[in-house]
């Protein structure tokens, strides 16, 4: 039994890891783009971006998952997400939108906290805007946002469990399925070990990056 449970939980955990990794891959860059939008001097764009961020941060991720998965079906009359991996795609769309909005605010805070003198120093040295951002500002922003980012990323690890609301077979579902199938609940409890271990690794990783960037202030 134990090995059956372990195998099932591992399968679920792989899906959890996929949601986690792909969400980061999409949301980290998209968040930066949204951050630039919310700092834009073009007011209609700024207002639009701020409204989107307000809606996304103002509603539960669980609800967003349901709306994104079932909503298009109501409008177009058929399931645009398709079978097979359709549910997973819907999960990723919802997670990436949701997390990029949270990330964007972290980026914005980080970028705005860098003193104006840094970009002015780049300007008077004849650098272009993108050189100033990528060569001067970015690393300083990364250093500052690591604590809030690691917080958000660790939250993401556990938020992946929401995917089960639209029947994606991730870790929690894998554990829960034994309640119905075999009448045992301990596999569900055991899922905690996976979350704990993974968050532990992430914590160590962030600590390492923080230390790496300690050489400047």
């Amino acid at each position: 039994m134990v090995s059956v449970v372990f195998k099932a939980l591992c399968e679920g955990f792989i899906v959890t890891l996929q949601i986690f990794g792909l969400t980061l891959l999409g949301a980290l860059p998209l968040g930066l783009i949204i951050a630039f939008g919310s700092m834009s001097r073009f007011l209609p764009l700024k207002a639009l971006v701020k409204t989107i961020v307000w809606i996304i941060r103002g509603t539960p991720l669980m609800l967003q998952l349901i709306v994104i998965y079932y909503g298009p079906g109501l409008v177009f009359g058929n399931n645009v997400w398709g079978g097979g991996n359709g549910r997973m795609t819907a999960v990723l769309v919802a997670f990436i939108i949701n997390y990029s909005c949270y990330f964007s605010e972290i980026y914005r805070g980080g970028i705005e906290s860098i003193s104006k003198g840094q970009s002015e120093a780049g300007q008077v040295l004849g650098m272009t805007k993108s050189q100033i951002f990528f060569k001067i500002i970015l690393l300083q922003v990364v250093k500052r946002i690591i604590p809030p980012m690691s917080n958000e990323i660790i939250t993401l690890v556990k938020d992946t469990s929401l995917a089960r609301i639209i029947a994606v077979y991730e870790l929690i579902w894998a554990g829960q399925s034994f309640i119905k199938g075999a009448g045992i609940i301990w596999p569900l409890f055991c899922t905690a070990i996976f979350y704990l271990a993974f968050c532990g690794i992430l914590t160590i990783l962030f600590g390492f990056i923080e230390k790496k960037l300690n050489y400047f202030s």
């Binding site: 008077v124 004849g126 650098m127």
Partner: protein, 252 residues
């Protein structure tokens, strides 16, 4: 021919007119000190020269070429602005070194990005400049490991690396304690004999008096007095200059 000619520069922020028609010219190799009380527009003037602010009207010419004209300032493209501002260098009051780079990389970064030669040429030139500001031993250190005075000397080397026609200093010693002020002023004084043209906004009256070739006293956005240190300090014509100098010297 003067290296720098400024004609009737005006600048307002909202309803407040900060520069009310500034004109003066400067010859190659001269050191100009700009003095005056806080809020008189000294820093704004330097920022206009470096295109960090855009004057509302007036012209700026370097070596006879007009690089800024308030009439068509809005038409300047980003790359023209970048090209034009390279005539000037600027050393900030708060140093603004790039914290994530070593001293050497701070000096090398801009010439590298602007492709001012091969990597070896840029590095050997940067090392020579770091030597010149007396920080040879510190070239591998990071800014946070340096004192304020050392950081400001790195900032000077960094500005010199692009060989600007005119190097501007915005109160370069205001953030430093008196002990460190001396070492920075010594470096600036040392540059004087290398025919760099310099504009120094300063509250250090001794420096203005002894090092500069020209002194400009600004008050309420106008040039109240402009001349040699002997003329401005020894025989000030305007009442405002007299009272400012009296107050500055009274302090001691």
């Amino acid at each position: 021919m003067p290296v720098l000619e400024i004609d009737n520069i005006r600048k307002s922020f909202g309803k407040t007119e900060v520069l009310k028609g500034i004109s003066f010219s400067l010859n190659k190799g001269e050191v100009l000190s700009i003095i005056g009380s806080s809020g008189s527009g000294k820093t704004t003037l330097l920022r206009c020269l470096n295109f960090l602010e855009f004057a509302d009207s007036g012209t700026i010419s370097v070596n006879g070429e007009t690089i800024f004209d308030g009439e068509n300032a809005k038409k300047l493209t980003d790359s023209e602005i970048r090209q034009n501002r390279l005539h000037f260098g600027l050393v900030f009051q708060s140093f603004n070194l790039f914290p994530q780079y070593s001293v050497l990389k701070n000096v090398m970064l801009a010439p590298t990005l602007l492709k001012r030669g091969t990597a070896e040429e840029i590095e050997s030139k940067a090392r020579a400049l770091i030597d010149r500001v007396g920080l040879t031993e510190k070239s591998a250190n990071y800014p946070c490991q340096l004192s304020g005075g050392q950081q400001q000397r790195v900032a000077i080397a960094r500005a010199l690396a692009l060989e600007p026609d005119i190097l501007c200093f915005d109160e370069p010693t205001s953030a430093l304690d008196p002990e460190l002020t001396g070492e920075v002023l010594k470096v600036i004084k040392g540059l004087k004999n290398t025919d760099s043209t310099m504009i120094v906004v300063t509250h250090e009256m001794e420096f203005a008096k002894n090092v500069s070739d020209k002194v400009l006293f600004m008050a309420d956005g106008v040039v109240e007095e402009y001349g040699t240190p002997e003329e401005v300090f020894g025989n000030p014509k305007s009442e405002k200059t007299k009272s400012f100098l009296n107050k500055s010297l009274e302090a001691f």
